[in-house]
């Protein structure tokens, strides 16, 4: 398990909506060793404020040694990231955490909600790489409104999976939640569900899967200082009555291991 701190040059900045951005970063060591579901910690400030790195799922890697992150501006760190310019350097640390456990045989049902879409592109790519065909596989993407998903649809479509969408305002696909879509479709036999999104969404997916006896992996968040097991700050209660550390034991878990924060 190798982790690197790289000075990554920003090679592309895409703005998808007022608050949603995608950055392409040149960091070959991280790109080469990353797995879907893993994340990076990025320093946003040159000075000491904000002090801590910010965690972001790896959205996609490329053979050219690049990674992408897809993020939303919610506070000071992401505000700074949204204003980086091409050619600037960012300190990127990763790949971190345990990613999704893929299965070359089981059909994949990938569910991403909101910024939970971020890790799913990488997952879909690796999934399609791993398999002979993805005919039975399915992706469901949900967001508040069209603009948060539409710019990514081409990227997701390239793997030939079946793709469904849902928006809170009905501006794209199903008018409502991804969980409703998941519930409404017939899931392929022997499939595995992979989900990432807000806690209530993942809890809902977990519920549906448990009911149907389908294994479900989820990627969850937590506040983080170090991202690599040194601070013990990223704890989250788990079912065995103790705490799990998201940066080390996660961010991907079997949904059944977790207690939902809802």
């Amino acid at each position: 398990m190798s982790q690197y701190q790289e000075k990554a040059t920003v090679v592309r900045v895409e703005q998808f909506s007022e608050k949603n951005f995608r950055l392409t970063l040149d960091c070959p060591l991280i790109a080469e060793s990353a797995k879907p579901g893993q994340f990076v910690m990025i320093r946003t400030a040159v000075g000491k404020d904000p002090l801590l790195r910010r965690p972001f799922s790896i959205h996609q890697t490329s053979k050219a040694g690049r990674i992408q992150i897809y993020f939303k501006v919610v506070g000071r760190g992401t505000h700074i990231l949204a204003h980086v310019k091409i050619g600037e350097e960012l300190s990127v640390f990763g790949p971190l955490g345990k990613g999704f456990r893929l299965n070359a045989l089981a059909p994949a049902v990938i569910v991403g909600g909101g910024l939970g879409i971020a890790p799913m592109l990488f997952l879909a790519k690796e999934n399609s790489r791993l398999k002979k065909n993805c005919d039975n596989d399915l992706i469901i993407l949900g967001a508040r409104e069209k603009n948060e998903i539409a710019p990514l649809l081409d990227d997701f479509r390239q793997f030939g999976l079946k793709l469904l969408t849902a928006t809170d305002d009905g501006s794209l696909g199903h008018h409502g939640f991804v969980t409703e879509v998941l519930q409404s479709v017939e899931l392929p036999a022997g499939c595995i569900v992979y989900a990432c999104g807000p806690e209530p969404m993942m809890a809902g997916v977990n519920e549906i899967c448990r009911f149907q006896g389908i294994p479900c992996q989820v990627s969850v968040e937590s506040v983080m200082a170090c991202g690599m097991g040194a601070c013990l700050g990223c704890s989250r209660p788990a079912k065995k009555g103790t705490y799990t550390h998201v940066c080390l034991n996660g961010p991907v878990y079997d949904a059944e291991e977790l207690i939902w924060n809802i």
Partner: protein, 326 residues
Amino acid sequence: MEYLSQRDETLPDLRVNIGSLELANPVMTASGTFGYAREFENLMNLHRLGAVIVKGISLHPRVGNPPPRIVETACGMLNAIGLQNVGVDRFITEKMKYLAGLNVPVIVNILGDSLAEYVEITERLKGVPGVAGIEVNISCPNVKKGGVAFGTDPAMAASVTAAVKKTAGVPVMIKLSPNVTDITAIARAVEDAGADSLSLINTLIGMAIDLKTRRPALANVIGGLSGPAIKPVALRMVYQVAQVVSIPVIGIGGIDSTEDALEFMLAGATAVQVGTANFVNPRVTEEIIEGMYAYAEAEKLLTIRSIIGGLQTKVASLNPFEQPSC
């Protein structure tokens, strides 16, 4: 000592002595910010460290506090990890073997909620191969004294020191709390009680609030403030303490560069510990050591020891009660 056998004679001499403990250089990792060291093995060369200080160990395992346990503040962070650790027995069986294999002194940070607990942990650590020293965290509440922290009362601080020292068999470093009116009084009491060295500062007690939820940002309500924000307080306390004790003082608080570390040494610290900065840059300790070599070379220092306490000031001593913004 064996750690030093590999010293490259062409490089400046960064060695320092913490009492009978010799370090290859003055840079240690602060307790609770470097795990049990192994977490960093792929990120830096652990063998270059002056010493490793591990996460605080209690007699029994502790699961720690509910989340959120950390929150960022201006140039700092608050933590309320709640002393999560594997307990002394599992520490010895599961962690010490790896640590003992490192080519650097390992100092075990211990904590307790009674005198007896401190002594019991010390006893269990006695004779364990690879334990080069014990750092005693005295910022813990003494449950028998209504939860008053050992480190806020000279008499209690002295009694823990004496008890651990009697049992330890290895050098004992007492880690002071900064949340006191007069840190020099505690320092003197602890020195008189037999401490081999002092490390300071532990975190300042702080709090953060989430306006949106109208709740404390930490589940534990209060937490310990660390990082660059606290460096001025730490530097002041190190300076004050170094003037009143004759045992080595180890500086801690907001150090994230060679310059920071050297400032603490000028103020009187024989060595330093790096804490929060490990989270921002896992290679920071190694970079600080590299920077010390560069500094010693540039300044033509035969030994880094020559700058310890070298602050140029006309003020002979400070009244610990003086309040500058009075």
